[in-house]
Assembly symmetry: C2
Homo-oligomer: 412 residues x 2
């Protein structure tokens, strides 16, 4: 063994995804193959579990169990919303030194990469030999330098399948259906609502992202136009849509008298934005039904709707992280890059933590239509491979009309 | 051909389900095999399509298309919320006579069976030879004389998988998560929320059905107890929960000043009930996160989460209806009855329309726990086969705890 022995520590941070456990399993299985790894520990509850020394020993976890956990949604090591500052990181580092942790892998989004960056700097400054790697994960798909992020493809698949159902539902019982999708700053997930569209009149007919100013008047006019044309209208809206001042629409619509009954002004975990938008449509448009569905946490932890591509890539970024840290002795942030060419293929690379940490990618202009109420073909080409194989497809009857014989007075 | 030639008419009514098109395809394929059937027509938009003479000719629809449509959720012939009275039915009958419709199949719930009943009576009274058959369909599972109804199993599977995800999510980021499920009078679908529970501490920890009086004080006390015990609480609640006077809780909580902003007081298509319950919990319990998700229309038209049993049975009731009407010359309502014995098996029978029409089955007492906040093992035994094979299963790590070395002051 020509390497210094030491332990591996892995943790999961931020919001869960459908495939975050694949990255965990990728780290565990790859790390256990390395002769210099004395043990593989997991921290329970993200960074908080490190400060609290809540570790489990994953060195002997059976392959059977690991594969079961890999296929289970949400974070098997649990998570945290803590955003460590320098003092918090110093406490983490002290615990890690005490346990001889030499390789640290943190699976998470923006905030998690920033934590790894601080930790890495402190280790260097303190002369402690640590390779710290951030492994990407986010349903928001908003990490810079990544073509896309593990977790996004499966959430996007859920959203696409959900809107396929809402569209079919609204065809059977017409009206206006509004579906609210997660996303404060980046609208990738909301944009994915269009992926299962097949026939030209299918919804969602309107897609509103946080990247464009949301005008209430424009919204009403858009819905009116679609409803006139199709007799129904399906709308996909990101929870983070903003007005011209940058204020969230939810905050603007949620007037004082309603604040109490609905508690604080969170954007997620409430159906309020959809309900308020539905109320505006009801006041302005004569439609048979106006309903709002908020996808909420269903879209990030739903079991049984997983992109095979996403699942494999989530496993692969975990394995790649171990390779970079243990074989190449490098720390940083693992990124997914798409290879040029007609067929979908990716490579995994390692970039500086500072290049990713705390930055947010949003939907590029080329993916949003000129009117700001839909997405482009370029987005579909970008996103379609990510949601995986065998996306359900709607079928319609082609039966010809029967000539009318009765001449009864028709119902309106 | 020793039977009088005539045409078959099929239509779909009420809310869509994930498998209602299987029943449609079952009718079409079975009817096309019968030598006395001159043509198979479909009415577009349920009973309204009959009055308006909006018929399509399904006689030549390809098998390929039909199988595609069968696997597509929602109603391929579209639907209606119209509830025909005697005058409406008389107009339907006039159109049917004009087209020489001799066999009528209406796929729907309670209201649809009542329509078939009226039509059947009018045909008899008018001396018009018509066999009218109601084919059961409802995610609410509330048709009497049926062990269960086509459409329920797939919706129940969606609800079970959704709560499996919410439970895993709340384990990773603890708090109180409330999921609101469709069901005004019958709580079967809400009860199905527990089907994917595997470990004893898993949610939903509390299940509230419309069949029991919902007490706000009891609700707060229940959540407090669970939250104290598990550090988190997942709640499944039916949209139709009622207070001791029988008034919906949503109506009671939704005070006058909020009525305008949220439009009318519908129970579905709004996140309000969940938001109001979450607000009550926030006022009374100190929890890190309190969130409400309303499943809305996702649960009845979602594509890609279908029970194989439900799908097969939905096809079978369509086929059975044709057999009863054309081979046995009988009208009525098709019912599903479970055969006694350890293994799951069903038979299809035909009952009088008046025995089903306008009646509502609710969750029997044996399926609800004594406290009225959960379901019994008897319910699980009843419901488990209906959601089909390969229900996703959660897995957990079994890794042992690592002894603490550092003795750092733990974070709260």
């Amino acid at each position: 063994m020509n390497c210094p022995a030491g332990k591996v520590l892995v943790a999961q941070g931020g919001g869960p995804t459908a495939v975050i456990n694949q990255s965990l399993v990728g780290v565990i299985l790859a790390a256990r193959k390395e002769p210099c790894v004395a043990a593989v520990y997991g921290a329970l509850g993200g960074v908080r579990g490190i400060v609290n020394e809540d570790f489990v020993d994953l060195t002997g976890e059976t392959l059977e169990d690991l594969e079961g956990v890999g296929a289970t949604t949400s974070s098997a090591l649990y998570s945290t919303r803590d955003k460590p500052d320098a003092a918090y990181c110093a406490r983490m580092l002290a615990v890690m030194r005490r346990h001889d942790i030499r390789w640290f892998f943190y699976i998470g989004g923006n905030d998690s990469s920033d934590t790894v960056r601080i930790l890495d700097e402190q280790a260097r400054a303190g002369g402690y030999d640590l390779r710290a790697v951030h492994i990407p994960k986010t349903i928001d798909n908003d990490l810079v330098l990544n073509d896309h992020c593990p977790g996004f493809g499966s959430a996007a698949r859920f959203v696409a399948q959900a809107f396929m159902g809402l569209n079919l539902d609204s065809h059977a019982l017409p009206g206006v259906l509004i579906g609210t999708v997660m996303g404060r700053h980046a609208g990738f997930l909301t944009a994915a609502s269009i992926l299962a569209r097949k026939y030209p009149d299918e919804g969602p007919h309107l897609v509103y992202l946080p990247e464009r100013t949301f005008s209430l008047d424009g919204f009403v006019a858009d819905v009116q136009r679609v409803h006139r044309e199709h007799g129904r209208c399906v709308v996909a809206v990101a929870e983070g849509i903003r007005d011209e001042t940058g204020a969230p629409i939810l905050t603007r619509l949620n007037t004082t008298q309603e604040r109490d009954a609905h508690g604080n002004r969170q954007l997620s975990g409430t159906g309020l934005l959809g309900d308020l938008l539905a109320g505006i449509i009801r006041k302005n448009i004569k439609a048979q039904r106006v309903r709002a569905d908020t996808f909420g946490y269903l879209q990030r932890s739903f079991t049984g709707v997983v992109s095979d591509i996403d699942s494999r890539e989530a496993r692969a970024v975990g394995e790649a992280a171990v390779r970079f840290a243990l074989r190449e002795d490098r720390g940083g942030s693992v990124v997914i890059q798409r290879l040029p060419g007609a067929d979908y293929a990716v490579r995994y690379d390692l970039v500086e933590l500072a290049a990713v940490a705390g930055k947010t990618k949003t939907v590029p202009d080329a993916f949003i239509n000129a009117e700001g109420n839909g997405v482009t073909e370029a987005f579909t080409r970008y996103c379609r491979p990510l949601v995986g194989a065998n996306l359900p497809e709607p079928f319609r009857l082609r039966a010809p009309r029967v000539p009318k014989l009765h001449k009864a007075a028709n119902l309106a």
